[in-house]
């Protein structure tokens, strides 16, 4: 769209800008600011057209074709299905709940403890919202199976959430082992009063 078309200018309406040799529009002067009569840069025009085409195509994909990636619920369902299909079995065939004593497992257990369990039991195991894990008192028993079960299924009414969907079997066992072998018997900074029975 040229200014000639928009504004019906004639040749005598222009002067030449000496630095660029472009046409200045004669009667356009605002507090000394002049305006050139340059056309829209072609690449700019094409960019604009391209985005308009994109917009139309996008809306057609949604409104006419209901494309999977534009219908939010469908996109989510497909992603969940795909994840289910590709997921390896969460349970290893040879898994059994036995105390792990090797330093690698205990180190991993400690990592999980600090990242997750410490929010309620504190890093040193002294307990704050959750019970003290360093003393000899236990609410649900002090065997590795007891701890593993609690970590797996939680005690929801007390605020202990189940970790079966967040931690692998291996990770749950590691952290249970870490508690029994590394935390029990230590002296935390601010121990919570004993809860449960003495073992």
């Amino acid at each position: 769209m040229a200014t000639d078309q928009i504004n019906k200018n004639r040749d005598e309406d222009y002067e030449i800008d000496t630095l660029t040799n472009d046409r200045l529009i004669k009667d356009h002067s605002y507090d000394g600011i002049r305006e050139l009569d340059n056309d829209l840069p072609p690449w700019w025009k094409w960019l604009f057209y391209l985005t308009i085409v994109f917009a139309i195509a996008y809306m057609i994909r949604l409104w006419v074709f209901q494309a999977d990636d534009l219908v939010q619920n469908r996109e989510y369902e497909l992603a969940m299905e795909e994840a289910k299909l590709n997921q390896p079995a969460k349970s290893a065939a040879d898994f059994s709940v036995v105390l792990l004593e090797d330093p690698v497992s205990l180190a991993k257990g400690q990592e999980t403890w600090v990242k997750i369990c410490a929010a309620c039991h504190l890093v040193d195991g002294g307990g704050i919202v959750g019970p003290n894990m360093t003393d000899e008192y236990w609410i649900h028993g002090n065997k590795i199976e007891n701890l593993y079960t609690i970590i797996t299924n939680g005690v929801i009414e007390k605020g202990m959430i189940p970790y079966k969907d967040q931690l692998s079997e291996e990770a749950r066992l590691e952290v249970a082992s870490y508690i029994l072998l590394k935390l029990v018997g230590t002296t935390p900074a601010t121990p919570k009063a004993p809860q449960g029975e003495k073992f």
């Binding site: 040229a2 056309d39 969907d165």
Partner: protein
């Protein structure tokens, strides 16, 4: 042709200029404080009005409305009379505008840190201040329009087009978004709830960027770039096309703030496509700015004013390309709720807005005070420090945003979240927060050099209060004009035309959200909040929790595994105002109360955590909120709150207001007793009890039936 003599009064533009300088420093200092609080969470020393979540709105409001706002008014009060060859219409209106605007800023500064907030981003100001804003805006508009009526120049220049569009659109946006039912002098509930409120808010929020941080600054650019370079505008045609395209398209783009939320697909799609179509119209402004400098690049090398404007316009081009990219769903899936957004907006504010303000003021002060800039060298140092500061600010945040997004989405081979503990993803990016604070410090030092330089300049001269000029009286055009040229000669019609153009998008997007029921499908198990939960919700709003915690679980596997079922529109219908948030510095809280989900925490955990977050999570960057256990809920307001809710259509039974306090007490007693059983002594009327009640309610409604 007889020339008429008249004088410009520089007093108001000079006053706005110094207000810009002062509020600029204040706004940046508050921002810097917030940046340091993120790496030293308890830096505020348990002073409630200094905590991050209370001062973050002070920073954004000061930067937008005080710093950029006063800068815009400086430009308008200086350029409009000169472009129209007439003094501003009324000194009285101008004075009311100036002092009214400064009063608004001061009122904002003494309300927001004390938790008096509406919680809608960049619309936090409480309703009495909103009323004042509208009045002052009308005064400003009246002055602008009457100056156009009295003009001697027949046609209005492109800067003025942008000023007009700014005035019209901000008026429409501000009023629509702030409609509310007052409960007291300091609080109100918006008339919109949940997803509808979110749509109105982000229609406003995005267009605050468009019509407060963009259009008036383009108007500023169209005046000061050709003035400072003494070059003609590159293309008048481009001005026309990009102006109308920009204001028409911009108003539609708001929903891109709500991609992958409970907003219907059609509205999200409109947000995407209109954002993409904005690239060219935005770049039209950049091209017209940069190509105006053809033939003057040698001047740009020497002159800090032009250098700053070039960086400003380039930053504008960068962020208006990045914006549409962030509006693509696949990019937004990563960027949203992360520091990527923070980096993006700061390219706009530190680059485009601030640099334009600095450039304009460096150009203007020597002219207003009839002297030379005190030190060109110092201005060049400022230029380099500011540019460097901007890079040190934004590059680490881009990196932080990208890193954290990937960590949130990472699964292990067994199909578990790789980083189930949100805090781990925060600790990972903390070094980037340190770098950001360093970048911010650099930028701030640059701003101090700027203040020193312009103050020294002003002191070396004296204010030229009046400048005389002369121009012929307004004359009819010599020959027949094209339609646009004719419109330029009719500013009132021009104003109406821009109003019509900006109303289209807003109406088409917002009205169906209210009229078409399928956009917000009802969920029968979703019930209104109990009075205690409602009070807790108001505490949540007051403390600004939404500034770091979202309440919008997006429909991604990585989110539903972490936070539970994704948020449905029908769950938000009693949320006056909505609390989706826009940034996750901490985890999402939309389903905080659901006992079977990974994020569930018992009451005692919440109590301990609010009192001292580092006690339960040593690496947490959340500040402590100990005053929640000291402040009491104001029960005298509870019945009024219930009645306001009833007026808004919340189905409490008639006369429930009378029973509300008794119900509140009963629920509070239960929570206090539960805490006592865990060894925590706290009175049932304390704010913390209400907040815990609210948190434990969050997201539970659709789980109770399962």
């Amino acid at each position: 042709m007889e020339l008429q003599k008249f004088t410009y009064d520089n007093r108001l533009s000079n006053m706005f200029l110094w207000a810009t300088v002062i509020w600029g420093v204040v706004g940046m200092l508050v921002g810097l404080t917030a940046a340091f609080e993120l790496i030293m969470p308890n830096m505020s020393g348990n002073i409630s009005w200094l905590v991050f979540s209370r001062i973050r709105p002070v920073h954004t409001n000061a930067a937008i409305f005080a710093f950029v706002g006063n800068g815009i008014f400086t430009a308008i009060y200086y350029s409009t009379p000169r472009l129209l060859k007439t003094p501003m219409y009324s000194k009285l209106l101008g004075n009311i505008h100036f002092w009214g605007w400064q009063l608004i800023i001061v009122l904002a500064a003494v309300t927001l840190p004390f938790g008096l907030t509406q919680s809608k981003e960049y619309a936090e100001l409480i309703w009495p201040i909103d009323v004042l804003v509208v009045l002052i805006w009308v005064v400003f508009g009246l002055n602008l329009i009457m100056t156009m009526v009295k003009r001697r120049v027949k046609h209005i220049y492109v800067s003025i087009w942008f000023y007009i569009a700014t005035w019209v659109t901000i008026a429409v946006l501000y009023i629509t978004n702030n409609l509310a039912i007052p409960v007291s002098w300091s609080m109100s509930y918006p008339i919109y709830a949940g997803i509808q409120d979110a749509l109105v808010q982000w229609w406003y929020g995005h267009n605050a960027v468009a019509f407060f941080l963009t259009t008036p600054v383009l108007g500023m650019m169209y005046y000061f770039v050709p003035k400072a370079s003494n070059r003609p505008i590159y293309s008048y045609k481009l001005s026309i096309i990009h102006f109308w395209a920009l204001i028409f398209l911009y108003i539609w783009a708001g929903p891109h703030h709500l991609l992958y939320s409970a907003l219907p697909d059609w509205a999200q799609a409109l947000g995407v496509v209109f954002s993409v179509m904005l690239i060219a119209p935005s770049w039209g402004g950049m091209i017209n700015g940069l190509l105006t400098l053809r033939g003057a690049w040698d001047k740009v090398r020497e002159d800090p004013v032009l250098k700053m404007m070039v960086v400003a316009v380039t930053a504008y081009g960068m962020s208006t390309f990045e914006g549409p990219m962030l509006s693509l769903k696949s990019v937004n899936a990563l960027s949203h709720f992360t520091d990527w957004t923070i980096a993006h907006v700061h390219i706009g504010t530190l680059g485009w807005n601030s640099m334009m303000n600095f450039g304009m003021i460096y150009w203007l002060v020597p002219r207003l005070f009839k002297t030379k800039l005190y030190s060109v060298k110092l201005a060049n140092v400022h230029f380099w420090i500011a540019t460097l500061g901007m890079l040190f600010f934004s590059i680490p945040l881009y990196f932080a945003g990208f890193t954290q997004a990937l960590m949130w989405k990472q699964f292990t081979e067994e199909g578990f979240l790789a980083y189930p503990n949100f805090l781990e993803t925060v600790t990972q990016i903390l070094p980037m927060y340190h770098l950001r604070a360093f970048g911010g410090s650099l930028y701030f030092i640059g701003a101090l050099l700027f203040v020193y330089n312009v103050v020294k300049t002003a002191m070396a001269g004296s204010l030229v209060r009046y400048e005389s000029d002369e121009a012929p009286a307004k004359a009819k055009p010599k020959h027949k004009e094209g339609w646009h040229r004719a419109l330029e000669g009719r500013p009132l019609q021009f104003t109406v035309a821009s109003l019509v153009v900006i109303l289209i998008g807003g109406l088409i997007e917002i009205v169906p959200m209210y009229l078409v029921k399928s956009n917000v499908p009802t969920i029968s198990s979703v019930k209104p909040y109990t009075p205690l939960e409602l009070e807790g919700r108001d505490v949540y709003i007051k403390e600004g929790c939404y500034l770091c915690h979202s309440q919008m679980i997006r429909p991604f596997r990585s989110e539903t595994e972490r936070y539970g079922e994704y948020t449905k529109a029908g769950e938000t219908v009693y949320d006056f105002p909505f609390q989706f948030g826009s940034k996750r510095t901490g985890p999402d809280l939309a389903r905080e109360g659901v006992k079977t989900l990974p994020n569930y925490k018992p009451d005692s955990w919440h109590f301990n955590h609010m009192m001292n977050p580092q006690k339960v999570s040593p690496e947490s960057i959340m500040p402590a909120y100990p005053w929640l256990a000291e402040n009491e809920i104001d029960l005298s307001l509870t019945p009024a709150k219930i009645n306001a809710m009833i007026k808004l259509g919340v189905p409490y039974s008639e006369g429930y207001a009378d029973q509300a306090v008794a119900d509140l007490n009963a629920q509070a007693e239960k929570i206090a007793a539960g805490l006592q059983a865990s060894g925590i002594q706290v009175d049932k009327n304390k704010e913390i009890i209400a907040l815990i009640a609210y948190l434990q309610r969050l997201g539970t409604d659709i789980y109770t039936t399962k």
